[in-house]
Amino acid sequence: MTSSRAEVDLQRRLELVHMTVFCQSFSPCGKYLAAGNNYGQIAVFSLSAALSSAAEEEDQKSVITFTAHDGPVYSLVSTDRQLISAGNGDVKAWNWSEITKKGCKEAWSRKPPFRANLELPEINCLLLNQKDNTLLTAGGDAVVHVMDMETGAFTQAFQGHMDYIHCLALRDQYNECLSGSEDGTVRLWDLRTGQEAQVIDVYRHQECARPQYGKWIGCLATESEWMVCGGGPALTLWHLRSVTPTTVFPLQDCQQQVMFYQDLILSAGNNPTINHCQISGGVKAQIPCTAPSVYSLAINEQSQENMVLTVAGSSSKVDIFTNFQYRAFSLSFE
């Protein structure tokens, strides 16, 4: 009996060493953080407990860890009542109220209509469009699928990319969505008509192209007229209306996550640092974090008292930054 427990312990410890956390999402109340890893597990952490002044060792472990998918969980997103997770070909939803009470039964599970039926392509990115109440999914089949949240039916499919899609971003004001893919292009899709509005060949522009790293676009973020994207090519800020690259950031590694925050651009990639960049092109700060390669950055904008930056990547620890300038502590996936 004891030897099998020791084996289980050893196995778990091996798993922890090889664990990669791909995605994170905050609960609608802002008190919980859900993180999904490469073993298909989702762990829910209580942020309010971990951030309170009387926090202990126990509060930095997960409240509940459950297996959500057979394969890795690549993307997580939250609506105001549910947590939606996506893995190898399927999208599942879980009720937040049940999860926080340690129940792990899925609310629903859907599959986007893939053409190839032999293998299920992975879903790399989920995006919630709250205006239309739709969910956009994109991944290995190079098509952006749009699912209506109320009926669960897949209404639109945007085809055009040549290779699989890494990331999605939404432009509410123009009712458009952007997708960045392995084929090196960023395409803008009009959500109303379903047509491709524009194609930006990022890798063809001399200022940002880095052929030694490839042409893939790993991360996208947009804000009104501006878009920042990176990956194989250097992290660049684009002005969308004139489709010109305005600033190229002097970062050596390939960026895998990027987001706009107040007047800064936060990005992270193959290095264990979070880069704070300014729109003028300077890198203001590079803050070290635990994971050697960062796959997920999230800011809890919904909650005033738990407004933290959480960082996860190829490590079983999720870093919490209360003041964005330094790492406060880490939550661990046990």
Partner: protein
């Protein structure tokens, strides 16, 4: 030992009165004057001196006891006055502390408000900085393109040159046409002349032949 004796005396009187227990009395006395070097002793001394003065025999002794009593009374009054002043002082000190406490509280509130205000200002400033940086980024891109007036002028100049050259081309072509026509005229005239000459030659040859034939006949 003195205190113990006093305590015993008191407990006896207390038992006679039958009111409070020994411990309470002892505790109260110890609290009020624990060290035994103060007022309690003085009051006892006063009582004893009073008895001595009442029981005194000679006038001098009585007078000395009387003096001593007055002295002790004065000391007691002095001590009491001091205690009252200390009590007043404590009360005023308490008021002062209350005041300071309230002031500090209101300062804390004001500081909180100021912090909130400053945070708002920071947000505003960050927004302004962001807008400026966006503007700068676009301006930098625009600067790399040449000036619009310059380009317009260049375009105009090029247009004029184009017109001029096309006019020259037209005139050259006209001249070419004219020359071609003139050459055509020249060549056709030459050929006509040639024809006429040949015809003339043929005619004259024919005439010659006829003449010789007529001659031989």
């Amino acid at each position: 030992p003195r205190e113990a004796v006093d305590a015993e005396v008191n407990s006896n009187t207390a038992q006679a009165m039958g009111a409070v227990t020994d411990d309470e009395v002892i505790r109260k006395r110890l609290l009020i004057d624990g060290d035994g070097a103060g007022d309690d002793r003085r009051i006892n001394l006063l009582v004893k001196t009073f008895f001595k003065w009442c029981n005194s025999g000679s006038h001098e002794e009585g007078y000395s006891q009387y003096e001593r009593m007055l002295g002790i009374l004065a000391q007691c009054e002095f001590s009491m006055g001091k205690t009252l002043l200390v009590y007043d002082m404590n009360l005023r000190e308490m008021e002062n502390y209350e005041k300071i406490y309230k002031e500090t509280e209101s300062n804390i509130m004001a500081a909180h408000e100021k912090i909130a205000e400053c945070k708002k200002q920071i947000q505003q400033a960050k927004r302004i900085r962001k807008n400026r940086q966006e503007y700068d980024a676009l301006a930098r891109v625009i600067q790399t393109h040449p000036d619009r007036h310059e380009t317009l002028k260049q375009l105009e100049a090029l247009g004029k040159e184009l017109q001029h050259l096309s006019r020259i081309k037209e005139s050259v072509e006209d001249k070419l046409e004219l020359r071609r026509k003139q050459f055509h005229v020249l060549l056709s005239t030459i050929r006509e002349l040639q024809q006429t000459l040949e015809n003339d030659e043929k005619l004259s040859e024919a005439d010659d032949v006829q003449e010789t034939r007529m001659d031989t006949q």
